[in-house]
Symmetry: C2
């Protein structure tokens, strides 16, 4: 999706390894056609499920190690942190990604928030209010399962706000995310791209299994009928809000194992680029050892 020669950010790249930050990035300012991106593709990754699962598991130790360093650095004043934003149609695997990818990290350093329909209190505030209250603290990995982008997605499809107000939101989002980046937040925005056929299969699976009925809402079928409108809304949002500071990534998500690999890999690349370091202690080690052994 990225133009040749586009910047892939600094650091975090190792020779001979894929650079998903470049490959999956939505090029800022360029027209995006989601119809031209195969949802069952496996770009730059393992080709088969077994390999994919193994490759994801193999990242676990490095991911957790980088997370610990990020957290450790924050105790010495480093304000850097990561915010993973997950968006996608129903059944695209936002929840599964949290379970399988975020499950690789130490849960105490993860701040996860699933955004539902706004409450009355939230509606009484600007749309970014509830987002700001859920941001990761320095050293943490924040995860948004849905996000402020709903306010230009469902809000556009269902015309929840006047068109003019909607149009202003893209710029508001870009300025907001720019300010996050300036404050040390690595914003990793992932669109989980599934095909309508794959969604049908997943919804049928839920219907076929009574233990999954709680995940099913007949209203999901109404939303499904609006697929083309959602696709357009996503294309506009990703086009207008993929910026150099906070790019969008399109992750083909028909294959769950590829989705998990790709999101893990994106996080790994971002964390490697941050290259957090354990802070030095500012105390007298010998004196402390003496006191302990006294």
């Amino acid at each position: 999706m990225a133009e040749k020669g586009s910047k892939s950010g600094t650091g975090g790249k190792k020779p001979g390894q894929p650079d998903l930050r470049r490959l999956l990035r939505v090029t800022p300012g360029k027209r995006l056609d989601l119809g031209s991106v195969a949802a069952d593709a496996v770009p730059a990754g393992p080709a088969k499920k077994a390999e994919g699962l193994a490759a994801t598991a193999a990242m676990a130790e490095e991911l957790a190690g980088l997370q610990e360093r990020l957290y450790a650095a924050s105790t010495a004043g480093d304000r850097r942190r990561v915010l993973l934003v997950l968006q996608g149609m129903d059944t695209s695997g936002k929840g599964g990604t949290v379970k399988h990818v975020i499950g690789l990290f130490n849960p105490s350093g993860c701040r996860i928030r699933a955004f539902k329909a706004p409450t009355r209190e939230e509606l009484n505030h600007p749309f970014l209010w509830r987002i700001m209250r859920a941001l990761p603290q320095p050293g943490e990995i924040g995860i948004f399962d849905r996000s402020h982008y709903e306010d230009v997605l469902i809000a556009r499809v269902h015309e929840l706000v006047p068109h003019r107000q909607l149009g202003r939101r893209y710029g508001q989002i870009n300025r907001f995310e720019q300010s996050l980046v300036e404050d040390g937040v690595s914003v990793v925005k992932v669109f989980l791209h599934i095909s309508p056929g794959q969604q049908r299969r997943r919804l049928l699976e839920r219907l076929d299994n009574p233990d999954k009925h709680w995940k099913f809402n007949p209203g999901d079928l109404d939303e499904r009928a609006l697929w083309p409108a959602y696709r357009t809304a996503y294309e506009i949002a990703l086009e207008r809000c993929s910026t150099d500071a906070a790019p969008w990534y399109v992750v083909p998500a028909d294959r769950k194992w590829y989705r998990d690999w790709a999101v893990s890999r994106l996080l790994l690349e971002h964390l490697r680029a941050l290259d957090p370091q354990y802070p030095k202690g500012d105390f007298d080690v010998a004196e402390c050892r003496r006191r302990l052994l006294a």
Copy 2:
């Protein structure tokens, strides 16, 4: 620690399996002497490290399954949830327990909060104010790394509040926890019991490894010097606040693998006792299937 014949709660017990809820419980109203409890004991559990690690890993699937049911039930109005309270001296392994035990669960259903020294805003409120804001929602597993008990532990040792005010807090805590239980919260309070010698070894390890210096604070040595006062404060808190509604458990924690096994097992027993069920769908499955296939 429990008296013979004490109630172990209803359900959750399988024949031939240990009943940690009975074995590790601090008997309400009975004098507690922590000095008589071996911190390196392995009561009712695997005797060796390799077995212990395997036994903990073997619980993962059932734990995650029960968690999913608990969450699913909440979508149909079930208000039940779990709150794990972790207390213990520095290096007793509160953080390690979150990493290794809570890491067995789906992170999206866990609400983890580490309580530090209260902020100015928190000090301007009653001591339970910040606690109430961090409670798990229905269907969630909440984890407190330190808790409202600090307000009768460090507060007692350092005389942070007048003695009379301190004395009132035990009853306030019991009434608060009783109200949680009545609202569907299973309160699982775990004291991670380590020996002073084990703490010395762990602090020395931190000193010996520069990558662990960020975890070390020379102030910890001052607290260590107050060990007898903390032990007394813990004994009083556990005695007065181990209730039938919300008992305290003393988990020997000198062996990390036993600690993780025991806390996992306690959570398993509590979740089994809750026996959460997937809710039935209240929609027309055949009609939904027809619409999907149309």
